[in-house]
């Protein structure tokens, strides 16, 4: 099976992320399924950034620590990643910055400055030389380079191509990649996929304050706001964010917010208001290493329990944790629809690995605009915003509708939305809100809320969530294990998970946190986790490490 790993490294400011994305597109255009991981510290210039781009015949979501190609923009790249190189690793380097690829390495230098000077090209085009050189070293046809640069470097296509061609012509093909018979597919980061999914689900307004690793969704939606016909607002802070979003929802617009742990803290009071006032809202919470500011550009899965219970009082909520870009797109749309159908907050819970990782998706991912409606008021006055119903769901109306007096209220309130302190009404309205859990659980039962993969007959299962899907799948298939990945985390799909547990004797939870948060949640539903592999250095656990850990447990 075809499988290739390319690392590109340099300093922050060298454009490693975009150069990596071009490498990913080259692999995409020769038919590979692609996954890219981007690693960077929290600084703007300098330091060390790198991306690992992996291409494979099958869908992937992780990178092994064995490299086929290293594209080194500086010496540090070679030094830092030498442990991932084998003798046959092809090293391509910027000859202005790196003297040699090191002893016994198959290295080829590109005289970037000379090329740029020759073409009168600006420094910013240096990476095109690297890309061109890589394409040649990997035996990728020049046509493919042309197609990729055309599609993905909007400015100065011709000059970029000239620069790339110079490097292409100077290098030799050392590790030719075979083409795979797939058409190129859209490559999406997790956050882009979430944005598309939200728009599919009817998004009207996105409100967000920048916070890594959620910011790229703000940037993506801001960039396309005119095309998508949405309003994007970046207000003074996260408190304003959630309350503006609730204002949009009240006005009849579908709104979503995005943040990470620290910003989410500031939203919890507004969240509880949404719970009491039964205002729909979608929240992207993209996890990073905590507590507090922690490692702002590194990953974690340590906010699940916080999100489960965030905000004072008790009220229903939906939490979905997709495992890759395709799932992000699919479940973000569902989150939008369920929030509005049940008039509840719905979370899309991701992490840095997923939000900023790049994945191959499938054109089939955008079939239709699917907007599910909450039942609407039919205009028969008096309108009762909180009319009780067996489902707990009241009819919706929005300001501007004739004769509707729409009163939403964060106090305990009666059916009309007027404040009450009455004991019996308190019970009635609390029950009304909490009854939505049931309908929601039933509704979610209709969706594939639990992924089951790997060996169906295995007696050992890896239990995982979110972005570790990719690495777990790969290790499971190597060891003949089953993988159970609940995507819906709340309401917890206990029945589906238990069904998936059929034949399983041993459950190993894999989580990127220090306390085993999914294991705790599963245990509460009677699913016993036998072992926990917990990883919390901010980096996604690598297949090698997971393999070793699983073998340590299983043997």
């Amino acid at each position: 099976m075809q499988d290739v790993s390319v690392l590109i490294g340099g300093k922050a400011g060298d454009g490693i992320n975009s150069a990596g994305a071009l490498v990913a597109q080259l692999l995409n255009h020769i038919g590979y399924s692609v996954y890219m991981y981007f690693d960077y510290p929290s600084l703007i210039r300098g330091g060390h950034n790198f991306a690992i781009i992996r291409g494979s015949e099958q869908n992937i979501g992780t990178c092994w620590n064995t490299l086929d190609f290293v594209l080194a923009l500086n010496n540090e790249t070679l030094e830092r990643h030498r442990d991932k190189c084998r003798p046959e690793t092809a090293i391509i380097f910027n000859a202005d910055m790196v003297k040699s690829a090191g002893q016994g390495s198959a290295g080829q230098g590109i005289p970037v400055n000379a090329i740029l000077t020759g073409e009168h090209a600006p420094a910013i085009m240096g990476n095109s030389a690297i890309i061109g050189g890589f394409a040649k070293a990997a035996g990728i046809e020049w046509d493919v380079v042309v197609a990729v640069i055309n599609a993905h470097i909007p400015k100065g296509v011709d000059l970029n191509l000239k620069v790339a061609k110079k490097a292409y012509d100077q290098l030799e093909t050392v590790r030719p990649l075979s083409r795979v018979q797939n058409p190129p597919r859209p490559l999406l980061t997790g956050n882009e996929a979430i944005g598309l999914g939200m728009v599919k689900g009817g998004l009207d307004a996105y409100v967000s304050y920048p916070m890594t690793p959620s910011s790229s969704l703000l940037h993506f939606l801001a960039e396309h706001q005119e095309k998508f016909g949405i309003t994007v607002v970046h207000p003074e802070n996260e408190i304003a964010v959630i309350l503006m979003a609730l204002g949009f929802a009240y006005a009849g617009k579908r709104s979503a917010v995005g943040t990470s742990g620290g910003g989410f803290c500031l939203m919890t009071e507004g969240l509880s208001l949404a719970g009491m006032a039964e205002l729909p809202l979608v929240l992207l919470v993209s996890q990073r290493t905590g507590p507090s500011t922690g490692l702002p550009t590194y990953t974690a899965q340590s906010d699940l329990q916080f999100i489960r219970y965030a905000g004072q009082g008790e009220y229903p909520r939906l939490v979905v944790a997709p495992g890759d870009a395709q799932e992000s797109l699919y479940w973000s749309e569902i989150a939008m629809n369920m929030a509005w159908k049940f008039q509840i907050p719905a979370f899309i819970l991701t992490d840095k690995t997923l939000s900023e990782g790049t994945y191959s998706s499938s054109p089939a991912d955008i079939p239709e605009l699917l907007r599910e409606e909450s039942p609407a008021w039919q205009g028969t006055a008096p309108y009762l915003r909180y009319a009780d119903a067996p489902s707990g769901i009241s009819l919706l109306a929005f300001p501007g509708m004739k004769d509707a007096v729409i009163k939403v209220n964060g106090y305990m309130h009666d059916e009309a939305g007027i404040t009450t302190e009455d004991a019996a009404l308190t019970i009635q309205m609390t029950n009304k809100r909490l009854r939505k859990w049931e309908g929601l659980a039933e509704e979610m039962g209709r969706y594939p809320g639990v992924n089951v993969s790997g060996n169906p007959d295995a007696s050992t299962a890896l239990l995982c969530w979110g972005s570790t899907k990719g690495v777990c799948n790969e290790i499971a298939s190597r060891l003949g294990l089953k993988v159970i990945q609940p995507i819906v985390l709340l309401p917890f799909p206990a029945i589906q998970v238990k069904k998936a547990m059929g034949g399983v004797k041993r459950v190993i939870a894999i989580e990127e946190n220090a306390t085993g948060q999914l294991a705790i949640l599963a245990a509460q539903h009677g699913i016993v986790v036998d072992d926990r592999i917990l990883w919390y250095d901010g980096r996604p656990i690598s297949p090698e490490d997971l393999l070793e850990k699983v073998q340590g447990v299983v043997v």
């Binding site: 995409n28 599609a151 597919r185 859209p186 490559l187 999406l188 598309l196 728009v199 009207d204 307004a205 409100v207 396309h224 706001q225 005119e226 095309k227 998508f228 016909g229 309003t231 607002v233 207000p235 003074e236 304003a240 964010v241 309350l243 503006m244 979003a245 609730l246 204002g247 949009f248 009240y250 006005a251 009849g252 617009k253 709104s255 009071e269 507004g270 208001l273 006032a277 998706s361 054109p363 991912d365 955008i366 605009l369 300001p399 501007g400 509708m401 004739k402 004769d403 509707a404 007096v405 729409i406 009163k407 939403v408 209220n409 964060g410 106090y411 309130h413 939305g417 007027i418 404040t419």
Partner: protein, 283 residues
């Protein structure tokens, strides 16, 4: 709906003599006047925070969003951006908008979002039984400051002028005609309107005897002149003894945030196609 019953059946629980009655009465009059002039009250939304003032959301029979302490203004901003055809009025407290959520007030002014903010400024936390607020005078003895505060009050008029508010006024709950005029003006003003209302708290800050001899209505004042608005604003600093100007300090016409932001919705013809385009661009 015309001739709508403007007061709900909710039991009113303000103290006897509370200035909130006057504000409610004023709003009721303003609303019926708007209705008489052909405006549909279906298009009006009132947003409140939490505090005595905020109970007005229960009492007025119009669209209301009874939000949380300090967050009236971002809610109102979201509503206005969500549907710019709505007339959005905030009834907020001095604890609400000068303490807990002061930043939102300043940003609303800076953005010139077209909402009208009425601050029920009783210079005390009413509902939590009488602690000092940012506009209480220096030395105010409340339950959290039994030997008197150590802070000068802020001057919200000055702060709003410095923040770029395009309509800045001060009313008084005992001058209802003027108050009505200011609220009407604030609502018709296209842009951010700010009205600080000196509201009598009969229980914790019964300041009528202080205010009555000092208040006067601004006249001969050029409300388009920023400098003189500032000096009028500084005449009384909410602390030391001085004449207290009522009326409109400043007004100015500028494009509003809701005009400039959003409304992309109206420009998109085929959302599905846009989605497909952006998606396929990633290939």
């Amino acid at each position: 709906m015309t001739g709508r019953q403007l007061i709900t059946d909710a039991q009113n629980t303000w103290c006897p003599g509370c200035g909130n009655f006057s504000i409610q009465h004023t709003l009721k009059n303003v609303l019926s006047e708007m209705e008489n002039e052909g405006k549909s009250l279906d298009d009006v939304v009132l947003v409140s925070g939490i505090g005595c003032h905020a109970k007005i959301a229960d009492y007025l029979n119009i669209n209301t969003f009874y939000s949380i302490h300090g967050r009236t203004i971002p809610v109102a901003t979201g509503i206005k951006l969500g549907n710019p055809n709505l007339t959005v009025i905030c009834c907020t407290g001095d604890g609400d908008s000068y303490a807990e959520g002061l930043d939102h007030l300043i940003f609303a002014a800076k953005r010139n979002i077209d909402i009208t903010v009425i601050v029920h400024n009783n210079r005390v936390y009413g509902l939590t039984t009488g602690q000092y607020t940012p506009t209480s005078p220096l030395g105010f003895k409340g339950k959290s400051t039994p030997s008197g505060t150590a802070e000068y009050p802020v001057n919200p008029i000055e702060l709003m002028l410095a923040s770029g508010a395009t309509y800045v006024a001060r009313g008084y709950s005992k001058k209802m005609d003027l108050l009505k005029k200011l609220v009407m003006e604030g609502i018709s003003h296209k842009g951010f309107s700010f009205i600080d209302v000196l509201q009598i708290c009969a229980t914790f800050f019964p300041a009528a005897d202080y205010y009555n001899p000092r208040v006067y209505e601004l006249s001969d004042h050029d409300r388009t002149n920023f400098e003189s608005a500032c000096s009028k604003a500084r005449e009384w600093d909410y602390n030391s003894d001085a004449r207290i100007a009522l009326g409109t300090f400043f007004t100015r016409s500028l494009p509003t945030f809701d005009e400039k932001t959003g409304r992309h919705e109206e420009r998109v013809t085929d959302k599905k196609q846009s989605l497909r385009d952006v998606f396929l661009q990633k290939t």
